[in-house]
Symmetry: C2
Subunit: 284 residues, 2 copies
């Protein structure tokens, strides 16, 4: 496995990889969710590239950029076990945002909803770094996780609208025993908080059961989630959404597919989770 | 010469071209300025691609999108004479802006100055279509004209900030006898207006002489341009700028290079022109 710490070094190594190339971008501190995406890329492509970069432009000044967990050596050992061919792990200050950087990808509608309400510049940062990484890595296939469902929809729209010649593949949400969606930020949770956090998945399971039993009114499903979350005093609810995957507009009645998503705070930690209705349907 | 009218047809033909590929994007109604850019691409690359597309997103609703001159058959004949290998001339409604299109490239600082004052969404449209065309054409070299100097700076910034692996080359301004910069919009000018329009180049020549004689105060150079233009009653002045090529901020004193640029209206026609100081220095 090769590791490139600069764009030039990466391009040199990338040019020797057999096509097609599968790509899994990450912010590091890898867990089984990331590794499941790497395996999806591996199944589809003779070459697999992963990036590890905590992208500053998707964090607001008030957010946890400085505290975001990092462990490059551990990450590289995990990727080596997965037979990744090439890792792009730019050094701090390697110039992804050079002085005078002033070019941004904006998706005004889809980026302003759900996560965008409390994180108004987040998806601008995501779309911009994904575009940059796509230009550096030049993948044929890119694998993202459904855990970040809105991010997946933003990238899907980005690929379509800007004519990237890249196949986008989503991997399912990897969960801890108990149902908590895997996230690098789970490390912030105390044992009590981690227990309370299982309410997210429990609320989504309840919605799946209600939907399957015939409840297609979105407001009743949102209410069912809020009830489950309200039973956990440590959980502060943010949004609870039953929305169209096309543009994330909130639905009244579910006729086709729906993305059910929610965000909460538990102590200082912000957590998100989601499911697609009908259960088992793909998000994209 | 092959002509592709859809993205899929283009990609199929593009995949057979020997590398490196040089690319000249145009809005058609070609003149010798465009053809000089094609020749620059030809000198550098075994394969040359040109696009012909009047990009709606860079026109404001009040501008001349519907009236913009078009003559595809004439354009294709001219490109064939220049031994262009492949032309991307998407049909109207071929889907470069599909329903729900919502992804834009923004360069907040550089795009807001000069042309951006009277055309606030123009460079958003330019940067977005250039990004799309770069993803479709996948060129190694892209050739733009210095006539649209701010556009060249926007694309230069775009390529750098978003890590496009593309070499950007600028071609010099092609001029009519008398000095008028070639432009597809010159067809709008009456004979009297065309005569008046030579004042643009005369004003720039005066500035070059003054600079060479030692005048490095930007305000004195702007004043010299305004005097030449004011002598032509048909010319309505818009901006007259002596700015840093780095960010288009207006200069007080020219120490390094300067972009001297101006825009005017003559009747219904908007014209722009520019030169770089010291004379003969490259813009980029």
């Amino acid at each position: 496995m090769n590791v490139a710490r600069t764009i030039d070094a990466f391009r040199e190594l990338r040019s020797g990889l057999p096509e097609p190339v599968g790509f899994v971008p990450t912010m590091g501190f890898l867990h089984d969710g990331h590794l499941s995406l790497v395996r999806i890329a591996r199944e589809r492509c003779p070459s697999v590239v992963t990036s590890i970069y905590v992208n500053p432009s998707q964090f607001a000044p008030t957010e946890d950029l400085a505290d975001y967990p990092r462990d490059l050596n551990r990450d590289l050992a995990l990727l080596e076990e997965e037979n990744v061919d090439l890792v792009f792990a730019p050094e701090e200050g390697v110039g992804l945002y050079p002085a005078g950087f002033d070019t941004w990808i904006e998706l005004p509608t889809i980026a302003s909803r759900l996560e965008g309400v409390s994180r108004p510049t987040h998806f601008r940062g995501v779309a911009t770094i994904v575009t940059k990484l796509f230009h550096i890595v030049e993948p044929d296939v890119a694998v993202f996780g459904q855990k970040d469902a809105q991010q997946a929809l933003v990238v899907h729209r980005l690929v379509r609208d800007l004519d990237f010649d890249i196949e986008l593949v989503l991997g399912p949400i990897a969960r801890e025993p108990g149902g908590l969606a895997m996230s690098s930020r789970n490390i912030y949770l105390s044992p009590n908080e981690r227990e309370a956090a299982t309410a997210l998945y429990r609320s989504l399971q309840r919605v799946e059961r209600l939907y399957t039993a015939g409840e297609h009114k979105a407001e009743n499903l949102r209410h069912a989630i809020r009830e489950v979350l309200a039973a956990e005093p440590l959980v502060q609810q943010e949004y609870v959404s039953v929305a169209s995957p096309a543009d994330l507009s909130e639905l009244e009645t579910i006729e086709g597919r729906a993305l059910v998503s929610l965000s909460v705070r538990i102590g200082k930690t912000r957590l998100i989770d989601n499911t697609v209705l009908p259960p088992g349907e793909p998000l994209l």
